[in-house]
């Protein structure tokens, strides 16, 4: 059984059919990429699966259990993490605090205990801070631990989002254009980082425009065009698919 099963998924915004009858399965432990021209519905698909949008029709199952229509915070409890194409960083907090928020569900969140500083809580917080700093080192941000998020560069914030997602200890992580806006050197670093995440046993779903990166990392690729599934397969199959070539080169098939 696949880890994630998507069946006939559609969402309509008024008359716009952003995603139409898309079906695919993702096996545990692989890197699965979603590609397609701008406006193909890739981010919408992410928003549907991670609960930010509710599908108009269709089903999404995680380990066989229906998760469509569940809220993002419910999905977080099931080990689903994500990053955003347009950064969603808390600029009012320091870098390490952003990562610590990622561990939210693993912590004692009781208001009264926190306000009265119950014994053990501060110690747990220090451990958490050390763990978050380690994660920042894992994504290559060790020099920014105490920096305020609003003082960091775009490329660093992109990786900070990945560190925050990893702090959830997810089983499934959705990365929405992690290399967008990065320079070639940073792109290679993110490429290596995603490899490391996959090697750690996390299933990765990737939306990315950098074809070199997609071909290099992906076990399987889904191609979307105008909200519909155009093709699915291994990198080699996708590369040779005439429909995909037509969509990307703009030729009329």
């Amino acid at each position: 059984m696949s880890m994630l099963e998507v069946k006939d998924l559609s969402i309509h915004f008024g008359g716009v059919k952003a995603v139409q009858n898309v079906s695919f399965n993702i096996d545990s432990g692989i890197v699965y990429s979603v590609i397609g021209p701008n406006g193909a519905g890739k981010t919408t698909l992410f928003n549907l699966i991670t609960g930010v949008y509710k599908p108009t029709t269709g089903e999404i199952r995680l380990d066989g259990e229906a998760i469509h229509g569940k809220s993002p915070n419910e999905l977080a409890t099931r080990g689903v993490a994500r990053t955003f194409q347009n950064l969603q960083i808390c600029m009012n907090m320091s870098a390490v605090e952003n990562v610590m928020v990622g561990a939210h569900l693993r912590l004692d969140r009781n208001l009264v205990k926190a306000a009265l500083r119950f014994p053990g809580l501060k110690k747990r917080d220090r451990e958490l801070r050390a763990e978050a700093a380690e994660l920042m080192a894992f994504v290559g941000l060790e020099q920014y631990v105490e920096t305020r998020a609003d003082a960091m560069s775009y490329g660093a914030l992109k990786r900070l989002e990945i560190a925050r997602a990893l702090a959830m200890k997810p089983r499934l992580i959705f990365l929405d254009e992690p290399a967008a806006g990065l320079n070639p050197k940073e792109t290679i670093e993110v490429d290596h980082l995603i490899r490391k995440i996959a090697d750690a046993g996390v299933t990765v779903v990737l939306v990315e425009h950098d074809m070199k990166m997609v071909m290099n990392l992906s076990d399987r690729i889904l191609v979307l065009d105008y909200g519909k599934k155009l093709a699915e397969g291994t990198g080699e199959e996708i590369r040779k698919n005439p429909d995909v070539i037509a969509a990307y080169l703009g030729a009329h098939a």
Binding site: N73, Q88, C90, M93, G102, D125, R164, A165
Partner: protein, 310 residues
């Protein structure tokens, strides 16, 4: 946040300990008590506005519920003042939760509108239920007794309020640098990001709103007993605005900013009394100027300037 944020707490405690011995007369002691009471209210309000990013324009209404609970229940029903205070706080908490839940399920900031309406309704109710509340004239409040010991003079009140303030500052600092506090700040920074890491946004917003409302209610009761008298003006819209102004002037999302804002804006009307009739105008001008030159509020601006950071 490093250890150093707690250093400010020691400064606050030191000031509170020294203050009564350097006060020239009881007028200043009375002012200090009012400042401290406002500081506790503003601390609670700043948790909501500054840290969680939710605006309440009806906090004076919650003060009013607490104050009138302490006036009405002991006077008409013979309740013990502490019991009345608790009842006011519980009623406020329930009211706040009932109002907040549906509002926070909507997208967008509707809390400001809803609390504006709620505050006005409360103040109208207090004005109209004259047989219980004395109507527009207000009513006297019986003295507060603690374990057979009556709080009567300003000195005693000062120590009670100073203790409440110190504990509130300590608890606020603890709360901000905890998983709960980080979740609050995160949902302010990016609601969708906090949701995808598992923060139940509605629950957290309701929790902090209820907490700050209960804070206000308790301090409303304290004020009522201290002043010995309540009137509907206390629950007025203008009082709500004054409290929000204290948060903004002192500095949003700043614990010590809350204290500075409360102290300054409690003192300002007294300091401006010499302007006779023009004090409101001068008051307004000071607010405008501070918004233009210190848009982040006093304490955060100064902290950034001197490179300390909070």
């Amino acid at each position: 946040m490093k250890k150093s944020v707690y250093n400010g707490l020691y400064v606050v405690i030191a000031i509170l300990l020294v203050l009564p011995f350097v006060m020239p007369n009881s007028f200043y002691l009375d002012l200090a008590v009012r400042m401290a009471i406002n500081a506790v209210i503003v601390l609670g309000l700043n948790l909501l506005i500054g840290f969680a990013g939710q605006i309440s324009l009806g906090h004076a209404g919650f003060l009013g519920i607490g104050a009138y609970a302490s006036a009405v229940l002991p006077t008409h029903f013979g309740w013990h003042p502490l019991l009345a205070m608790g009842a006011g706080a519980v009623a406020t908490g329930i009211l706040a939760a009932v109002v907040a839940r549906p509002i926070f399920k909507l997208k967008g900031n509707y809390l400001a509108m809803a609390t504006l309406g709620l505050g006005i309704i409360i103040s109208i109710a207090l004005r109209n239920e004259a047989q219980w509340t004395g109507g527009p004239d207000g009513m006297p409040v019986p003295a507060m007794g603690l374990f057979g010991f009556e709080l009567s003079n300003d000195k005693q009140w000062y120590w009670v309020v100073a203790l409440l303030l110190s504990v509130s500052v300590w608890a606020s600092l603890n709360l901000i640098d905890s998983p709960f506090g980080r979740a609050l700040r995160a949902l302010h920074g990016s609601e969708v990001a906090s949701q995808v890491v598992g923060v139940d946004v509605v629950r957290y917003k309701v929790a902090i709103f209820v907490l700050s409302a209960v804070f206000a209610s308790l301090m409303g009761s304290v004020t009522a007993h201290y002043v010995g008298f309540v009137s509907p003006n206390f629950a007025d819209f203008f009082h709500s605005i004054e409290l929000v102004t204290m948060v903004v002037i002192g500095g949003m999302a700043s614990v010590y900013g809350s204290l500075v804002g409360a102290v300054l804006l409690t003192a300002l009307p007294q300091a401006l009394a010499t302007f006779e009739g023009w004090e409101t105008v001068v008051f307004g001008a000071i607010l405008m100027l501070s918004m233009i030159f210190l848009p982040k509020g006093l304490v955060p601006t100064l902290a950034a300037k001197f490179g300390k950071g909070e």
